[in-house]
Every structure is written in C-alpha cells, then in structure tokens.
C-alpha cells in the first residue's frame, strides 16, 4: 500500500510538473479528483472487484477513464484539465460501485453459507 501511494504521488508530481513545463501556469490539474478516484480504484482492487464479474466491469471503466484523464492532464491546457476532472469524477463513481458490488458478492455468499450451515446441521441431527 505504501509503495502504491508513493507511486501515485510521484505520478501526480510528474503530471503537475509536465503541465507547468508546458507553459500553462493557469490550468491547474484536478488534484482532488485524481486522489479521490485513485483511492477508490485501490479500494475496489482490495475488495476483490477483479474476481466478481459485475464489479470487474465497473473497475475496468474506472481504470479506463482514469487513464484517459492522466493523458489529458499530461497534455495540459484548461479544457483538458476540465475534461480530465469530469472523467475522474466518473471514475470515482464507477470505482465506488465496483467496491459495493464486490462487497455485495461476499455478503451474498455469507448469507448462502449461513443457510447451508442450517441445512447441514439439520441433516447431521436427523
């Protein structure tokens, strides 16, 4: 986790530097949205979203939109920053849904297991 945070921060620094180097000092990158979406994506991965079909779909959407946003941020310019901010907002929403779907899958399995446990116990005590 520490390594990932460090990598993300490094990436943000590089992107920020690239924008400044591009001479567009007035177009600020959407740092909050970048951090927020990156945190949601990491949380979705930790929740096991890649192993749950529905969750995997939304995690993929989040990753794609996040990647597009990074490209736009790297390109610089106010319009690109604005578009990137919106893409990151979408990516956060997708990742949050992926987290919930992954957790829901675990809850469903736990409920099924609890019912199976009853049946198993009833069979054993017949």
């Amino acid at each position: 986790m520490t390594i990932r945070m460090t990598t993300t921060q490094a990436m943000l620094g590089l992107l920020f530097g690239a924008v400044l180097a591009g001479g567009c000092a007035t177009a600020r990158p959407p740092t909050d949205n970048m951090e927020s979406s990156a945190a949601s994506i990491r949380a979705a991965q930790s929740a096991g979203a890649e192993n749950v079909p529905n969750a995997k779909l939304y995690l993929q959407l989040a990753n794609e939109q996040s990647a597009r946003a990074k490209v736009l941020i790297a390109s610089g310019g106010a319009d690109n920053m604005n578009t990137a901010s919106k893409l990151l907002m979408r990516a956060s929403a997708d990742a949050d849904l992926a987290i919930a779907l992954a957790d829901d899958d675990k809850d469903r399995l736990a409920a099924d297991q609890a019912i199976t446990d009853i049946h198993t116990f009833e069979q054993q005590t017949k």
Binding site: M89, A100, D107, R108, A111, A114
Partner: protein, 301 residues
Amino acid sequence: MTKRILIVSVLATLGLTACASSPSRELLNARRAYTRASSGPAARSVPADLHKARVSLDTAEAAFSNDSSDQRDLAYVAERKAQLAEVLANRAEHAVVRVKAEATLASEKDASHVQTKEQLERAKTDLVNAEHDVADQKQRAAASDVRAADADTRAADADRRLKTMQLELAKWAAIKEEPRGVVITLSGSVLFASDKSTLLPEARTRLGHVTAALMETKERRLHIEGYTDSQGKDAYNVDLSQRRADAVRTYLVSEGYPPDLIVAHGAGKTMPVADNATAEGRANNRRVEIIIAPAGGVSMR
C-alpha cells in the same frame, strides 16, 4: 421567397430548441436507475444512500435545465449513485438473511443441545434404574435360594418325622403305605365293645400312643374311616361305623389335632380286607383306618 425563408428560419430555431431540451442518454439512464432503486428495498433499508442518489439526480437535472456543459457527467455520476444505493440495499438484505440464518442455527443448536442433554439424563436415569433392577433381581434370587433351601430342609425334616412316626406307630398298629397315603389300621375289637361306639379304656391308651405320633405331622390331613363285617343290616353297619369313626376323630381333636384337618367317614361293610365267612376274617374287617394324606394333597377313596 421572403416568407419561405422566414418559415425555414422558424423551423430551424424550433429544431435547435428541441435538440437543446432533449435529455441526454446519461440523464435518461440516471432517471431510470433512480426510479428502480427508489421502488425497491433501498427506500427502507438504505434511505440515506438513496437520498444521496436523489440529490445527485437533482443536480444533474438542474445542470440539464441550465444547459450546463457538465450535465452528461453529472447524470453519469447520478446513475452510479442510484445503482450504488440499490447494491447497498441488496447488501442490507443479505445481511438480514445471514443474521436470521445464524440466529436460527444458534437456536437449533441450543435446542439440540438441550435435547441431547435431556436424552443423556434419561439414559443416566435408565441406567440407574436398570442397575437397581439387577440388584433387586439378585436380591430376590438370593432370597429365593434361601427359601428353596428352607423348603428343602422342611421337606427333609417332615420326611424324617414321618419315618419316626411310622416306626413309633408300628408298635401299636398296622402301618402300610398306599397311594392314598400312610394307612394306620386299628382293630375294631381293640377299640370298641361289640356293637358299641364308645372307646374302651385300652383303646384310649393305644390311641394315645397313636395320637402322640400323629402330632409329629399335624399339618397333614387325616381321614378316619370306620368299617364293619358283613353281618347285620347295611344301614346299621354304616351308622355304627360312622359313630366309631367320629369317636376316634373326637379323641384326636381332644388330644390337640387340628379339627379342620380331620374328616370321619363310616363305610360299613364295604372294602373288606379279609373273608367275612370266617370269624377271624370278620374280626379283621371290623376296623378303623386312619389315613395320613400325602403332603400337599387330600387322598380320597
């Protein structure tokens, strides 16, 4: 021409207006997602999350009304929030199912535990009862053995006393063993004067010895039977033999033999033991028999 240009311009303006007021695909999706979520369990189980979706949709609708440039993105997010509310509602439902199932399992385990405990207690009680039964049976068997040994001892003792009595009686009367029992025969001429039923003094002495011997076995039934010879009328002989049998019975009772164990019977001239044609034979036929019934039964002719 001018009129045609005006009409085209109006239509073009209307068309542009219509395009501008058409909701985006994202907004339509967001509306549908919210409608679905709000009509499901989310309203009950996750009202706060549904409210966030509502706020998000309202923001998207406002952006659409204001023709804002980020209306599509806001609608996209609103759809996800509505979907999120639905999924969170599902999670809550799953949690309820799991908690109920776990409670049911715990309850069934408790019930099973109680049942098993009760079965164990019953089994313990049954075991204790069985052990008591075995102990009782052993005790009864031991008591039965003791009783059987006592009975054997008593039977042996009775046999010994009977033999002793027979040896004693043999000195005073004729003794023989028949299927009906031990038969003691006393001569009528020794016991009674001719045609009388009163015991002679000598008879009392002899009967005294007989009675003393009989007292050794006074739990036995006695049959006293009187007989005559063939002379005289039958009815008279029966009456005489009955009175003589009664006289012997009365004597035995007076000496202490239990009266309910003695039966007296006059048989007259029946069952002769000797020839009535001779004086000696008739003397032998005039007799009184005391029959000692076998142990455990009554012997009758």
